[in-house]
């Protein structure tokens, strides 16, 4: 059984990490980072799926390689690049490789990436992808035979199904409605978009108190003031408060990382009591995860 689901079920504050596969086959550094800095410190590690539509090494293969090293993966799956046949087939393949945790995502649009002329798929939306997982678990799939009867699987998989939400979206009600639908469609855990405002997050958590699935708050490590400003201008649903930007800007040259670690740790500490876990996204700075956890008092 997935350790992630066990940890969340036990009520323990659960931390997950994340790695992004490389553009190319040089996967070793990413695996090394996970083994060196995440293994034993986080319960599971997300592997992004062709993140921001920039073509790269695959999520499923990376998940499998993590498993080989004793690290539990969370297989991220976006709806952008595969139709329902390929999605379901990949879900079966993932299960066959021992991958249990799957995070269903819509996926950034192709125009955000490096193959702008590609054909976007979005055959299923994220609700459909979650429904597909549930069907597979029930031993059937989204299709049917010529008489309209559900197809039967020779061996059904079992997943721990996740989804995401943007707690600080400028219009949060549609986010909450969609989250309710994702949970109704089968989502069992939630990892959020980056949060930098504990007060706003607290309000969001009150609004979703009727949704009975564990929520892991998203922590994207701010590397410097420039990155924070960039995110404010360009990343939907992300609001880095000015006081955090000022702290990063005031850091001594070469020592910004210390402030980054402190901010990430503080955020987790402040929000620990509001939710069931934290999902730390370092964007390549996994080496600071131990320090962030220490700062967070975990």
């Amino acid at each position: 059984m997935s350790r992630l689901s066990e940890s969340l079920a036990s009520g323990k504050f659960t931390v997950t990490g994340e790695i992004g596969p490389p553009k190319g086959i040089n996967i070793e550094p990413a695996l090394h980072e996970a083994e060196e800095y995440l293994k034993g410190r986080v319960v599971a590690v997300n592997v992004t799926d062709i993140q921001t539509a920039v073509m790269r090494f695959g999520s499923m293969a990376t998940c499998h390689l993590l498993l080989d090293r004793g690290i539990e993966p969370i297989f991220q799956m976006v709806c952008r690049d595969r139709n329902r046949l390929a999605l379901q087939s990949d879900l079966l393949s993932a299960a066959g490789l021992g991958i249990e945790n799957v995070l269903a995502l819509t996926g950034d649009h192709i125009l955000m990436g490096d193959h702008k002329e590609a054909k976007p798929v979005y055959d299923l939306d994220v609700i459909g992808l979650l429904q597909a997982m549930v069907k597979l678990e029930q031993g059937t799939d989204l299709g049917c035979d010529s008489k309209g009867r559900p197809n039967k699987l020779d061996g059904a998989p079992k997943f721990f199904k996740g989804c995401c939400v943007t707690p600080c979206a400028d219009e949060v009600e549609p986010q909450i409605i969609k989250l309710e639908k994702k949970v109704a469609a089968g989502a069992q855990f939630v990892q959020t978009q980056a949060v930098y405002d504990p007060k706003a997050f607290g309000e969001f958590m009150k609004k979703v108190s009727h949704i009975k699935v564990p929520i892991l708050v998203g922590i994207v490590v701010l590397k410097n003031a420039g990155m924070a400003k960039y995110m404010n201008a360009n990343v939907p649903g992300v609001n880095v408060p000015k006081k955090l930007i000022d702290r990063l800007a005031a850091a001594n040259k070469g020592e910004e990382y210390k402030v980054s670690i402190k901010i990430a740790g503080e955020l987790i500490r402040e929000m620990k009591g509001m939710c069931q876990g934290a999902h730390i996204m370092t964007l390549g700075w996994d080496k600071y995860v131990p320090d962030i956890l220490a700062e967070a008092g975990l």
């Binding site: 996926g107 649009h109 299923l124 994220v126 459909g128 943007t166 400028d170 219009e171 939907p236 649903g237």
Partner: protein, 221 residues
């Protein structure tokens, strides 16, 4: 209506190079309403061709006709003689018109002068916007009259992705997020229940992503 844009002159010149008798055939249907392929635009294209070809030392005979609708056989019949007399026909109809003509006049050399783009409406003076993808199972009743297939960049059917910022879609600050608009309108009408309904996956077999679709009405056949 069907919206189409005229191809750049350089592209059209390639079709007619070396031809002696060119017929520019405008269409009085959609392309005339979106001001790209009607009578006036056909005349303009003919003049542009005369000038460009003239500069290159060619003086082909270029004539212009416009039919009511090129997607109807009976109207195309009215130019049968002109088509037979031309060694290149440049049609300014949408792709459907081009194909009906090519099918009716198999010996003629018929070239598209247009890039057919979308099914849309004239939303502001001089602006046409795509708003239907012909999915074959219209859901506008549930989405406050705003099409998520055509107007959400990802064609999502169950509500917004995380990409909305200030009401705009993640792909462009100039594009409204369809699901933001749907949410706003449903909320104003007190019909958020429609947004809350889980919609099953789309049957794309009935859409343009499936096999070619045909509509037959027996009473008219």
């Amino acid at each position: 209506m069907i919206v189409a844009e005229r191809k750049p002159l350089e592209d059209i010149l390639k079709y007619v190079s070396g031809r002696k008798k060119v017929l520019v055939l405008g269409c009085g249907g959609c392309v005339s309403v979106c001001l790209t392929g009607g009578e006036k635009e056909a005349e303009i294209l003919a003049s542009e061709l005369r000038i460009a070809l003239g500069k290159a030392g060619h003086k082909p005979d270029i004539s212009v006709r416009t039919v009511t609708r090129q997607c109807d056989r009976e109207f195309n019949e009215t130019v049968r003689r002109e088509i037979a007399g031309a060694d290149a026909v440049l049609t300014m109809a949408c792709g459907a018109g081009v194909q009906l003509l090519s099918g009716m006049f198999e010996d003629a050399e018929i070239f598209p002068a247009m890039n057919t783009t979308f099914l849309g409406a004239n939303v502001a003076p001089g602006t046409w916007e795509e708003n239907c993808r012909g999915c074959g199972q219209c859901m506008l009743a549930e989405t406050a009259g705003i099409c998520p297939i055509a107007r959400c960049s990802k064609g999502l059917i169950n509500g917004t992705c995380g990409g909305t910022k200030d009401g705009k879609c993640e792909v462009s600050k100039d594009m409204d997020c369809a699901w933001y608009l749907i949410y706003r309108r449903l909320k104003a009408r007190g019909r958020l229940d429609l947004l809350m309904t889980v919609r099953p996956p789309v049957n794309w077999a009935r859409s343009s992503a499936g096999v070619k679709r045909t509509m037959t009405r027996k009473e008219l056949a």
